[in-house]
């Protein structure tokens, strides 16, 4: 019985191809908009999120511009920061641009990153080959360097770079390790320019000498227990205030965890807002379905009367029209899902985020359209089932 109803509905939809298509257009647009918006927003936020997480949750980033009299922090002040309770390490960071030389080859515009052993300890998977800096390198001011993939490819094509030397600003550095392709050193460089020809990590003391600065203006603090994040933030701010004599705007403390939270709030807000807008088009689509069903019922008055004369119960008629409405909107929903995914796939390719199939978006789209079919198909189906067969048969 149900199977027959489905077949009959299908035949009616296919029998009126153009009209059915126009009817489901509203649903197609609504569902594809919802799917595309949710998937794209999710892709963008995920991308930003993963960058933040790469940088390390439980990390506080400090920019210490200082005052005209005291630009940045001294070594000892940085040491002091690392003694704050629940702080597991402090990484000064300094980024300069320089050219590097290997034998006869010169490579310009390389980003030179000054780091310490804490950086490599805290960013666990950053080393893909060889090793990072250790405490010995730092204490004995070893001239060691860690290079990234780009440098490896341009200067050491097909060679093992470990133990080889490169010349940076007139000083020889021995390569001890290789970092992952997509490792970002800190929040600033993650969002900063990426048009350098590669990245070389050297001990930050050497980098400071190279840059000719005596103070540290940027550093990351790793927090061992993120439950005490607020406490650590307060302590860090207190220490910095002391160092800079409570001068306004002398430093900036950024907590990554709170940024991730803000990002999530933003995502929810976007999804709700865009979903709301797309729902309006779904509503319009639903009204379209209702209209088509009402037309269909009045067009098929005779058919309904005939079916009743042949023994159909009112519920048979109602189910048949309801199935037709659900079919129509589900069909629209399905096309909408495919179209929406295709759009978000194309858009993610253009804006460079990773495309991820969102099952929740798909089930939302399918569920929504089925629901619309039921809600907006109900009244026409009921109307059909209540038609008086005599009036219905007389209408020819």
């Amino acid at each position: 019985m149900l199977k027959e109803s489905i077949i009959m509905s299908w035949q009616n939809i296919v029998g009126n191809k153009m009209r059915s298509f126009l009817t489901i257009l509203g649903i197609v647009i609504g569902v594809s908009a919802i799917i595309a918006l949710i998937t794209i927003v999710q892709g963008v936020i995920d991308e930003a999120n993963s960058q933040f997480v790469d940088l390390g949750a439980g990390k506080i980033t400090i920019q210490a511009y200082g005052t005209p009299l005291k630009r940045g922090l001294s070594y000892s002040e940085v040491e002091e920061l690392s003694t704050i309770e629940n702080v597991s390490g402090v990484t000064p960071s300094l980024s300069i641009s320089s050219s590097i030389v290997r034998e006869e080859n010169l490579l310009e515009d390389v980003s030179i990153e000054g780091k310490n052993e804490v950086f490599f300890r805290e960013s666990k998977d950053i080393i893909s080959y060889g090793r990072g800096f250790n405490i010995l390198d730092m204490e004995s001011k070893n001239k060691v360097a860690v290079i990234d993939d780009d440098i490896q490819k341009t200067l050491f094509t097909g060679e093992d770079p470990l133990g080889e030397n490169i010349l940076i600003n007139g000083t020889n550095y021995t390569i001890v390790g290789l970092v992952n392709e997509d490792s970002s050193s800190d929040i600033m460089s993650a969002f900063g320019s990426t048009d350098s020809n590669g990245k070389v990590f050297i001990p930050y003391t050497a980098a400071m000498n190279m840059a000719g600065v005596g103070n540290i203006t940027a550093l990351d603090i790793s927090v061992s227990d993120t439950n005490f994040m607020d406490q650590v933030m307060d302590d860090v701010e207190l220490a910095l205030n002391k160092a800079f004599n409570y001068k306004d705007d002398s430093f900036n403390v950024i907590n990554l965890d709170s940024m991730i939270e803000a990002l999530e709030t933003m995502q929810n807000m976007f999804t709700t807002m865009l979903g709301g807008i797309a729902s309006i088009s779904l509503l319009v689509g639903g009204i379209g379905i209702m209209n088509m069903m009402l037309v269909s019922v009045s067009e098929r008055t005779t058919e309904i009367g005939l079916r009743k004369a042949l023994g159909a119960e009112p519920s048979n008629i109602q189910v048949q029209f309801l199935i037709e409405a659900i079919f129509l909107s589900l069909f629209g929903g399905l096309i909408g899902v495919i179209l929406g995914l295709w759009i978000s796939y194309a858009v993610s390719g253009v804006i460079g985020t990773t495309f991820k199939l969102s099952t929740s978006a798909i089930s939302l789209g399918v569920g929504f359209s089925a629901g619309i079919g039921i809600i907006f198909g109900w009244a026409p189906a009921r109307k059909a089932s209540l038609l008086n067969p005599i009036d219905a048969l007389r209408s020819v």
């Binding site: 027959e4 005779t302 004369a309 042949l310 023994g311 159909a312 119960e313 048979n316 048969l393």
Partner: protein, 230 residues
């Protein structure tokens, strides 16, 4: 003794038209026995279709008693009436009322679907009844690929498919030319000879003579007429 399958006692049907009552059937008494072929003959507007709708359980009388195959129709629910239409009545209409998108076979299967017959059985019955009405080579034709007479045969096959107690026809030859109408009437006569009870409504006295009993309807009353009277 023949079995009585239909008995109407004092059936009245009133339509309300703009506050005024129009009494179309004023007290119909009719008894039909199994195996009869009966014509109800009357002029246009005399209430033939109204009577047929009541016999076919598509409509209920305003008053009076209607017993169909031992059941009092007036106290059946909507759902039970659907069942009666499905099992007891085979409708044949003047304008055929075939579904244009379905093949002859599918059209004949329609009542069987509502009678919840399995697909395999349905197809078997549909093919057999179409063979019975002489359309063995038109099983998969659509209505618009058939002549009027052939369409009416499909409709007759559809009416027969559920093996109903009564074959109920309203002006079955009204849309057909004379010779095709004659063929359809011959089919009716054959079916009646096989034992089928047929109630046929017509305003055409010539067509009415195919039946073995004629009743006339006029001004809301029935009167038994004899064949020679038409």
């Amino acid at each position: 003794m023949e079995k009585e399958i239909l008995r109407m006692t004092n059936i009245v049907k009133t339509y309300k038209m703009g506050g005024e009552d129009q009494v179309v059937l004023k007290g119909i008494n009719l008894t039909v026995n199994e195996g009869e072929f009966i014509s109800i003959l009357g002029p246009s507007g005399s209430g033939k279709s109204t009577l047929m709708n009541i016999i076919g359980c598509l409509d209920t009388p305003t008053s009076g008693e209607f017993i169909l195959d031992g059941r009092n129709v007036s106290d059946q629910s909507e759902k039970q009436l659907s069942k009666i239409r499905s099992k007891e009545i085979g409708f044949i209409f003047q304008s055929f009322h075939l579904l244009p998108r379905l093949s002859a076979k599918k059209n004949v299967e329609l009542p069987l679907i509502y009678a919840k017959i399995t697909k395999q059985e349905r197809e078997e019955i549909a093919v057999n009844t179409l063979i019975r009405v002489g359309l063995d080579d038109k099983l998969n034709h659509r209505p618009n690929q058939l002549s009027g007479g052939q369409q009416q045969r499909v409709a007759i096959a559809r009416a027969l498919s559920n093996n109903p107690t009564i074959l109920l026809a309203d002006e079955p030859t009204g849309s057909l030319d004379q010779s095709t109408g004659k063929q359809v009437m011959e089919l009716f006569t054959e079916l009646n000879k096989e034992g089928r009870t047929i109630i046929m409504i017509t305003h055409d006295a010539n067509i009415a003579t195919y039946a073995n009993r004629i009743v006339k309807i006029l001004d809301g009353y029935l009167s038994e007429g004899d064949e020679g009277d038409a």
